[in-house]
């Protein structure tokens, strides 16, 4: 049986990994994954939460180094496609200032069956969080702010909150 071209290549004109400073629209992104051979879609949305580690969070700020975030993201998606037989896999990550409830990251995968869609989606979000050069700064209700995962990054700073 002939395997469609689209099984091995991203859709024309669509990047598999993108950074954007505009609101993420998961519905529109999901439509990019439609494929006649797809019987399953799995999506993940990461949202901005109002609390972290006992701190009341007002908003979040994402910084990235785009050239390497893109190249590393492309590697992650290529790995997911190699591990799991999926049709399409995309990821979009926000940059800039985000408010509570906004979508910070979206991952979508379409495949013939559900198992590989779930597995590839999980693999992509897990790797994106630990490998891409993206940093988040939490702005707290008390006026302080702090870079996530950077408790020991600045020797002179308060353990988890750096004054503005």
């Amino acid at each position: 049986m002939a395997i469609p071209y689209s099984c091995f290549h991203p859709l024309p004109g669509v990047d598999v990994i993108r950074l954007t400073d505009k609101a993420i629209d998961p519905e529109a992104l999901r439509r990019e994954l439609f494929d006649p051979a797809a019987g399953a879609y799995a999506g993940f949305e990461g949202w901005i939460r109002n609390e972290n580690d006992g701190h009341r969070v007002e908003r979040l700020e994402y910084e990235s180094y785009e050239p390497l975030a893109i190249s590393e993201g492309e590697k992650v998606i290529a790995e997911a496609r190699k591990k799991f037989p999926v049709l399409h896999a995309h990821c979009v990550h926000r940059t800039g200032l985000l408010e509570i409830g906004e979508c910070a990251v979206w991952v979508g995968v379409s495949s013939a069956h559900r198992d590989e869609a779930f597995s590839a989606c999980r693999y992509i979000i897990d790797q994106v969080k630990v490998r891409l050069p993206i940093w988040k700064k939490e702005h707290y209700s008390d006026g302080n702010s702090g870079w996530v995962n950077c408790e020991r990054c600045a020797q002179h700073a308060h353990p988890s909150a750096v004054s503005l």
Binding site: G46, Y62, E63, S64, Y65, P67, L68, S71, E72, H93, A104, V105, I125, V128, K129, V130, R131, L132, P133, I134, W135, K136, K137, W147, V148, N149, C150, R152, C153, A154, Q155, H156, A157, V162
Partner: protein, 81 residues
């Protein structure tokens, strides 16, 4: 022998250093040496393993040898998603 290296700081490292980028002259062998010698700049006491480094826009590791003229990007622990 000292090497001329362009260093770029990101996120909390940039805030601590007070600048995005600078060219420094350092007597170093590896990317890890650059991190150690610039501690006063980036201010980090994180273990090297928690941070990442890229050289000339390619992800690298801390044992990578630094050449004269390289651009070294110092990344604090990442936190995407």
């Amino acid at each position: 022998m000292s090497k001329s290296i362009t260093v770029r700081y990101f996120a909390i490292f940039r805030e601590h250093a007070g600048l995005d980028e600078e060219t420094v002259s350092l007597d170093v062998q590896t990317a890890g040496d650059v991190f150690e010698q610039l501690k006063d700049r980036h201010g980090s006491s994180e273990p090297l393993g928690h941070c990442k480094v890229a050289i000339n826009d390619e992800m690298a590791d801390w044992k990578t040898v630094i050449n004269d003229g390289d651009t070294v990007l110092l990344f604090p622990p990442v936190a995407g998603g």
